[in-house]
């Protein structure tokens, strides 16, 4: 494994995007930064700008307004960049599956690497998802 890939896996900076979620998943994502879970142990930081980020965390149901912006944001991210879908809404639109405003799920808009189900997923589940992502990238 090359040095840069190793460094990338040891310091993934996270950009968090809500595409019309109910805020529960967002609160669980922020919980990961609190003293109880402290993902800075693994070198993860919450980046303010997508240009600094390596991981794009998406929560919410991707409605018509935010889908366009989501795609633009994904194009702006410096590659290599992975996408993590968090919560039932971003996996399969959840409660809003029959809504006129949510035409397609997230993985029809941008490629998704990891799915973390739950409504909302626990912080433990989010950390387990991140670990699985790291193992998947290491294996490939």
């Amino acid at each position: 494994m090359s040095i840069t890939l190793n460094a990338l896996l040891k310091s993934p900076w996270v950009f968090h995007l809500s595409t019309g979620s109910c805020n529960n998943c967002d609160i669980e994502v922020l919980d990961c930064l609190t003293p109880r879970f402290d993902i800075e142990r693994f070198g993860m930081l919450l980046a303010g700008s997508i240009k600094h980020a390596d991981v794009l965390l998406v929560t919410g149901s991707c409605n018509r307004k935010s889908a366009r912006r989501l795609k633009e944001l994904y194009d702006q991210a410096p590659k290599p960049c992975v996408v993590v879908a968090i919560g039932e809404c971003s996996l399969s639109r959840g409660l809003f599956i029959h809504s006129y405003n949510c035409p397609v799920p997230l993985d029809h808009i941008i490629p998704v690497n990891v799915y973390i189900p739950g409504c909302p997923p626990k912080p433990e589940a989010i950390i387990a998802g991140a670990v699985k992502l790291i193992q998947k990238v290491k294996g490939s």
Binding site: T4, P35, R41, G43, H52
Partner: protein
């Protein structure tokens, strides 16, 4: 020979110490917040990772200035720390540098350039948030530069109006550190505040206030140029305390057991910076300007008057 010093001490040693310092800063911050904190190699990994990422140049930016700004800031910090290393003279007992190489004025100018490079980068990127950050950086530079220069006058006066770092160090080796006098202590307090602003740490971090303007002038930077800016900031985290130690605390000695004493001085300064950073709220830019042009400048003037009176 000077080139060797620039590469070895100015860039490599300063960058290594700066990265370790940023780890200490993050770890202490984490412990204050009852977290575990990042592992020791984390700052190195961050820099290596950023060097391996794609560098994007936003459309509508001034390309040349955008890519040049980190290089300008980085080289200015490297030059400043090289001058400090060479002038502190006793680096590994090397006395061969008796020829004149820059004095306090050069260091003051070089230490202003990193802020200017951040401003240049912010304005060149064409992002509205970066412009707000750059304009705040400019106001901050205007406000802290006056007390900074006043406070640097104190060791100059106390060493018999000498602008040379060598003379200041020799004077302190004879009479004890300047920080042991009244004017020295006042000047030290002002210097710590100015250092906090120069590093853009929390009471004065409005240029990069990540809760209001995403990350200020660095918003549109990515990949290599972001790594360069990060490295520049980490090097500044070593260079400014180094300057302070030379001016007020008798310089670093790298011979024998006194190396431990030098490390202790540096780590204590770093801890003071980190604790101030973790126990204060962010000020607004107008409040910062009022503080620097009001009480802090007054304190610096008092320190200068005491120094003239010989206290």
């Amino acid at each position: 020979m000077y080139l060797l010093y620039l590469i070895v001490f100015g860039v490599i040693v300063t960058a290594l110490i700066g990265l370790v310092a940023s780890w200490i800063d993050r770890k202490v911050t984490a412990r204050i917040q009852y977290r575990v904190g990042p592992p020791f190699l984390q700052p190195f990994r961050d820099i290596v990772k950023l060097l391996g990422k794609e560098t994007l140049i936003p459309r509508g930016s001034s390309r040349v200035m955008f890519m040049l700004a980190p290089v300008i800031g980085f080289s200015a910090v490297a030059m400043a720390s090289t001058i400090l290393w060479i002038n502190s003279g006793r680096v590994f007992g090397n006395e061969s540098f008796q020829s004149f190489l820059g004095d306090i004025l050069v260091v003051i100018y070089l230490l202003a350039i990193p802020s200017i490079s951040i401003m240049l980068g912010g304005f060149a990127s064409g992002n509205p948030v970066a412009r707000v950050g750059a304009s705040r950086e400019m106001k901050l530079l205007l406000s802290y530069e006056l007390p900074f220069i006043l406070v640097v006058l104190v060791p100059i006066i106390k060493s018999g109006f000498s602008l040379r770092l060598e003379e200041i160090l020799k004077m302190q080796a004879m009479d004890g550190a300047f920080a042991l006098s009244v004017s020295g202590i006042l000047a030290l307090i002002v210097f710590v505040l100015v250092m906090q602003a120069k590093l853009a740490f929390v009471p004065f971090d409005m240029p990069e206030a990540e809760t209001e303007i995403i990350s200020g002038p660095l918003t549109d930077y990515s990949g290599t140029s972001l790594a360069m800016f990060k490295l520049m900031k980490n090097m500044l985290l070593f260079t400014l305390p180094f300057f302070m130690v030379i001016l007020f605390l008798g310089g670093f000695h790298l011979d024998g057991i006194r190396i431990l004493y030098s490390v202790l001085k540096y780590v204590i300064i770093l801890l003071v910076i980190t604790v101030i950073r973790n126990t204060n709220p962010r000020l607004r830019i107008d409040q910062a300007m009022k503080i620097f042009w009001g009480p802090v400048t007054a304190l610096a003037v008092v320190a200068v008057i005491f120094a003239i009176l010989g206290m």
